[in-house]
Amino acid sequence: MRRWLAVYAAAFFAFLHLPVITLAAFSFNRSRFTVWEGFSLDWYRAIARDPELMEGTWNSIAIALAASAISTAVGTGCAYGLWKRSSRVLTGSLYLSLVTPEIVMGISLLALFQWSFRWLHWQLGMHTVVLAHVAFSTAYVVIVVAARLRTVSPALEEAAMDLGATEWQAFRHVTLPALVPGIVAAALLALTVSFDDYVITSMVAGVDSQTLPMVIYAMARRGASPVINAISALITVFFGILILLSERVREP
């Protein structure tokens, strides 16, 4: 049984990773079709020449940076507050936001924004996308930071306060330094989920806020193209760099 299990595991890992590896490999193919005709970087050059892809990339970067900054702040505060004393309502909301189907979250945020337009003079655009990304990424931040907080002893803050520190000073100088790796990992996770989202974004984006996944999706629906392979390979490498960074902060 042992040997069969090992053979199976090899097939399993191949199934999990070969599709993306093959996809990336064919981004270097000269031919437009799935027949190898030699090495070429043409499809990468095509990315730079495509104004929609470039605009989508910049929009995605701007949105991911803004949304992950906000959700990291909100989520870290939330995890710390819940660590001091739990709240069933808040914890329940976090749970539910994680399991809410993306399409439901997308249309409900769209409904909220449309409803707010009656009073507020704004339209769908970058800001609504950022708010929507904060809506779904905050729970991820809370989970990562809360996991880190479980390794911190509450006795440390109590000791600091016995020695005359205020609540804020105890947080700032005792707990926060211990949390930094967790906060950085949470921010990187928020960055990736924000950068990757298509379903929710497509519901709340305006004409000026097409993100990279939206551009890729539109291209993919028109049919496969080696340009998508190339941009996919770049995204995978970009996410790979983020995971390496995240590993590095976790084990200093």
């Binding site: 049984m1 042992r2 299990l5 199976y8 595991a9 399993f12 890992f13 199934f15 999990l16 990773h17 599709p19 993306v20 093959t22 996809l23 079709f33 799935t34 989520g75 505060g77 939330c78 995890a79 507050g81 001091k84 004393r85 709240s87 309502v89 914890t91 909301s93 976090l94 749970y95 539910l96 936001s97 399991v99 809410t100 189907p101 993306e102 399409i103 439901v104 997308g106 249309i107 409900s108 769209l110 409904a111 909220l112 409803w115 904060v134 809506a135 905050t138 809370v142 989970i143 809360a146 609540e167 990757d196 298509y198 519901m203 999706y217 993919a220 496969a224 998508i228 996919s232 995978t236």
Partner: protein, 275 residues
Amino acid sequence: MTLRRWFLLPAWVWAAGLFAAPLAIVLAYSLLTRGVYGGLAAPWTMENYRRLFDPLYGFILLRSLAMAAASTVLSLVLAFPAALFISRSGRRRNLYLQLVILPFWTSFLVRTYAWLFLLRDTGLVNTLLARLHLIREPLPLLYNDGAVLLGLVYGYLPFMVLPIYATLERLDPALVEAAADLGARPWATLWRVVVPLAAPGIRAGSVLVFIPCLGAYLTPDLLGGGRTVMVGNLVQNQFTTARDWPFGAAVSVVLMAIVTALVLLFLRREGDHLV
């Protein structure tokens, strides 16, 4: 105010403004009538929920439940031996775990597109089969239920492996040895000792796979090509092309109710330990 209140304030704003309020609005919309130009109109009604029993829409809901169930079972069958292998691989365990977690850090859209690339008529699979003279015409691998099922399993498989691995890792090896000492063959040990003890992980993994599959939108849209309509596509369609927001809202409420019920059922059994 104490420091804790200040720290929780933004989170409460998030919970009220970006989580509860949108869902409350959808709930309200689901009880309204569709206006002439696709807006919302006055009479409050249950009509939108009644329409879910219309065979056309009821079928989509049942079909989504069936697809999610099939994806869950298939993921379980594929994930269990892999989790077993990882839990028994000693020092290399962490490396294998990283390989399972890696897809979480790869774009979901890219991973779904990879199958579009592999399965299309001029894709790698059809090209290879044609080169080997096994087929003359390309096989219609894409835009059917099978492709969607494959995409769903591929997308959420790690969610099944990790919880099963977590229970197998805590499993006392002495129990397996005891079964062997008492004369159980490896298969009997697996079925009657290991699998029952891994049940909590199997339950957790099943919930984690079933829920996103039920509400899936991207996979059926991209790999099903509009032919495999699931409930997520129905919702999207009502809010965009069909412009029937009240009905789309009613479908969303039902979907949300199913998901919430599943999570509550699961938590009641397993106890909560998220935060």
